[in-house]
């Protein structure tokens, strides 16, 4: 069964900590995405990557960085976690071409205290 796996389901971190969220896909997808999901705001794109070592900013990249050293793995990094980064983080992947839709991971619910 093909899938996108996020390393943690729930995570609690302290303000100022550096936080790593990992995402791995086994579908040989070129594109990978990180979204955050907040009530009433839907999914907002943080960063995406269309190839190894390539990245592009989404709508809300401030306070985040990403790393894609291997095709199957896309990491989201919170350089210095803040309480306003408490959210559900969803990773997704897709083929390069248009119209394939996304496959989503199960999400990581991050709480910053």
């Amino acid at each position: 069964d093909v899938k996108v796996t996020q390393s943690s389901r729930y995570l609690v971190k302290r303000t100022g900590e550096k936080v790593f969220l990992e995402c791995v896909q086994d579908m040989d997808h070129e594109n990978m995405f990180w979204y955050r999901q907040d009530p009433g705001l839907g999914l907002r794109l943080i960063y995406f990557s269309y190839d190894v070592k390539m990245k592009e900013k989404g709508d809300i990249p401030e306070g985040y960085s990403v790393s894609r050293e291997k095709k199957e793995r896309f990491s989201l990094i919170l350089e210095s976690a803040s309480t306003n980064q408490t959210s559900m983080y969803l990773c997704a992947s897709s083929f390069q071409g248009r119209g394939y839709g996304y496959t989503f991971g199960s999400g990581t619910r991050l709480t910053v205290v």
């Binding site: 996108v4 594109n31 995405f33 979204y35 009433g40 705001l41 839907g42 999914l43 907002r44 794109l45 995406f48 269309y50 592009e56 989404g58 969803l90 390069q96 248009r98 119209g99 839709g101 996304y102 496959t103 989503f104 991971g105 199960s106 999400g107």
Partner: protein, 111 residues
Amino acid sequence: EDKVVQSPLSLVVHEGDTVTLNCSYEVTNFRSLLWYKQEKKAPTFLFMLTSSGIEKKSGRLSSILDKKELFSILNITATQTGDSAVYLCAVEAYNNNDMRFGAGTRLTVKP
């Protein structure tokens, strides 16, 4: 700026009711519109719509796209408690690799 607006934001119905969820969009170089169902975990794919007026069906769910009026509807007939979820609408554009999502409609189906 591209945007996707879903309505209503939440809806409570009883089993057996029929519901209609709405999604309107403003996207440059529209390519396709997708519907996802999100229960407690990952959103799961329901439909992809690219052509106006062609209904897509899967069991009790159906969806249609109007590219002239820039909206889509998702219908669920004879609702069941298992239909309770957040339903997400997303739009793809030709000039982007990513999709623009709406805020979602939270559907609650009571026994």
